[in-house]
Symmetry: C2
Subunit: 255 residues, 2 copies
């Protein structure tokens, strides 16, 4: 099902601020893979981050939430600003007249759409299973893609995705991560895989386990993962009291 998009590209200047766009990097974790939500655009025949423009009376946060809802069908996601991408040479998206005409967008608005845009990057970590991605009118597909296998995206969207990952990497230094991404019960290798995907490199199994346990943010459950061939691994869950305190005070504790 395609939802009705409310993006108004026929009178953009009356509805949206000029020069400013928003791009959303939405991460999920599924089957041991860090995923990102991408759209395939009708106009560009390229994959892109869900993005859009800012209405005259909206905050950036309101705009980002609306854009994500309109373009992917995903509701009530808490998005966080992480950087504005402002290179004046940001690649032009290369609008194609024929596909835009097919979508009912008048040629007069090419100038508006082809102006310089500074794009505010937002990111979110969400629970994979709660999302049912749906493309809007201007997209043919909306899908989760493995972060490690993302192809060449529209404009500078690969750079925006990389910068969002960089923000997560920094977050790993001082905050616990995983509560919104992992199922309630998980194994130590699953948690390690999440960290490895964000860091973009392999970690030593023993060091990782020692360090995670030293922060006391996870507790080992009496159960083990069943149905695996070799030795059944222990299951863990987050200790939410400690986890939430570490979100506020940092992993190394308060000053």
């Amino acid at each position: 099902m395609t939802i009705k998009s409310e993006i108004n590209l026929n009178s953009p200047s009356s509805e949206y601020l000029s020069h400013l766009s928003i791009d959303c990097v939405v991460f999920g974790f599924h089957e041991n893979q860090l995923k990102v939500l991408l759209l395939e655009s009708n106009f560009f025949e390229e994959w892109a981050l869900p993005g859009g423009f800012v209405r005259h009376k909206e905050t950036l946060e309101e705009a980002a939430t609306r854009i994500l809802q309109e373009r992917t069908g995903v509701d009530e996601i808490f998005l966080t600003q992480f950087r504005v991408f402002s290179d004046p040479e940001r690649k032009n998206p290369g609008f194609k007249p024929d596909s835009m005409q097919k979508a009912g967008i008048s040629m007069e608005n090419f100038d508006w759409l082809n102006q310089r845009f500074l794009s505010v990057g937002f990111y979110a970590l969400i629970e994979f299973s709660k999302v049912n991605p749906q493309p809007d009118l201007y997209s043919s597909k909306c899908e989760w893609k493995n972060v490690e296998e993302v192809c060449s995206l529209m404009m500078d969207h690969n750079e925006i995705l990389e910068a969002a990952l960089e923000t997560l990497r920094l977050q790993l230094r001082y905050q616990p991560i995983g509560y919104n991404l992992l199922p309630e019960k998980f194994t130590m290798p699953e948690l390690q895989k999440l960290y490895e995907t964000i860091l973009g490199r392999e970690l030593d199994r023993r060091n990782f386990q020692r360090k995670i346990l030293s922060y006391k943010i996870v507790k080992r459950l009496p159960e083990r993962r069943t149905g695996v061939a070799y030795k059944a691994p222990y299951l863990y869950s987050f200790d939410l009291d400690v986890y939430n305190r570490a979100l506020t005070d940092g992993l190394s504790g308060d000053w």
Copy 2:
């Protein structure tokens, strides 16, 4: 001496992007006080953060560097974006026609100056002694003010300052701080005072010392501070190898 400002307020739309401004929060540390660089505006008769607009062909970083140079005489500062302030109800600065006319700004540009602005906040930590603040044409004063004693600022600049402090507080969780702010040799109480001003609360002396020493980012020097009434305190300096590694890997070390 007043430096020649290059801010062009007589033909703003031809020179600058609409809707977008920049505000810079520049921190320094002097005589045991965290300071912030403020201007007193000719137009508003209020104190404000150094701010300005973005040229059509500039990145935000280039614009912030130029603005800070033009408005305060401060050169070669590494500024970091930290948030965009986008409330559509951000208070109007309340331009006064008479003081603007005095400054040679034509009335026709009131509309441009009174439009909605989203402001990108930048911050920097700099060495107090390296700065010789100088007001631009549109300001009567440019001075360091104690962060703890900052009065009511123009528009939402108190909120922007508070958000910059919030960013520093977060940074204290995972990174060392102080190298750009403190003199080469400092006492433990001086370092503690820096942390206390950023955190906005007092810390326990022993806990603070124990924690700082556990990160090994400072080393005790053989000398003591002389010329003090009571017991002469030890001097410390940063161990730059460890300090720089902690900047990259975080205080609690790499994963």
